[in-house]
Symmetry: C2
Amino acid sequence: MLLIERAAEPCAGTWALPGGLLRDAESLDEAASRKLADETGVSDVFLEQLFTFDNQGGRANVVVTYFALVDVARTRLRPDLEWRPAWHPVRGVGPLAFGNERIVAYAEERLRNKLEYTNVVYSLLPARFTLTEMQRVYEAILGEVIDKRNFRRRVVGLGIVRETGETEKLGAHRPAMLYEFTRREPMVL
Amino acid sequence: MLLIERAAEPCAGTWALPGGLLRDAESLDEAASRKLADETGVSDVFLEQLFTFDNQGGRANVVVTYFALVDVARTRLRPDLEWRPAWHPVRGVGPLAFGNERIVAYAEERLRNKLEYTNVVYSLLPARFTLTEMQRVYEAILGEVIDKRNFRRRVVGLGIVRETGETEKLGAHRPAMLYEFTRREPMVL
DNA sequence: CCAAAAGTGTTGCCGGTACACCCATGG
DNA sequence: CCATGGGTGTACCGGCAACACTTTTGG
């Protein structure tokens, strides 16, 4: 996940999720896209509203959270010497500013559920990839090992990915078939 | 669903979902409970955040929607001569103020999904009820007829309801067993 | 020839769906 | 005795999980 190191009070010196204020005449989705592009340079990825939290005592009344899925390889972080945005592992990070852990936990749960009945992983993989790479993503998110044969049968059977015909030679072993997503947009299966 | 007839501009004379402003030092959940109690007199029912919408041009920046499930028989509507709150069928109602239809549609979809994997119906039924009554609720929400034997096997098999031992004699037919929910609070199955 | 990852089928189980008749009561 | 809704069991099917060996390549 992407965190910034707070340079200003409150919570100066602690890690927090990136955020910002809604501008005049800007929709929530637009604000979320804008912040995402500002911080990572990417657009056209999976991005959806997560939940709205109270923000007693903050500048705004409420905090409307969004979560996005991005292939880190495609991002270019904003070089901010003061706030130092950086990627962190989701699991095993210390406490965050403003109790942001609950937001992370909620996003994690939502993502685990979405994996089962949507094709959202497309947003975490490059245009072409091997099924093993894809399986690693599922395993990382679900936190469990998956049977290779069952996994492959499912994803191609559901029609969310298809062979490209190209293979990838990489290392001292049999080359792997490269796959692509049939549709690179959110789909419910 | 509960609608009020707008007495003031904008959209005077049209039907709208009940709503209000967040007070100082009040949480979103508290505000939702307060509005629900104000309008219907009930509390201790299923109530959860639905989605947050933009509100370009309104008094507030955003609209945080909640939805509740209540047994209409237990409600006592606020007798407001001006705003006239009243119950309406969810399906087949004309256009609402502020494009509120999208909120209703979203709530409907969420409810249909929740029916499958939670016990939320408890909030739409009295303390004791027959399985046929319960089945009617499911059928109304899902918009399809359900097989009686499969339905009964499922709900008692999942352990969400249990027999009370009491029966209800009502009309010229065999008396029906009365059931109750094992837990009257939201549970994921 | 060895190491390393790619690729491939079959079996059993469980849950969901389809389906039809007897029971208790009031009038 | 008739009409009305209450109550019950079985059989089939499809999806999911478990499980092990062969293939292709580089060194």
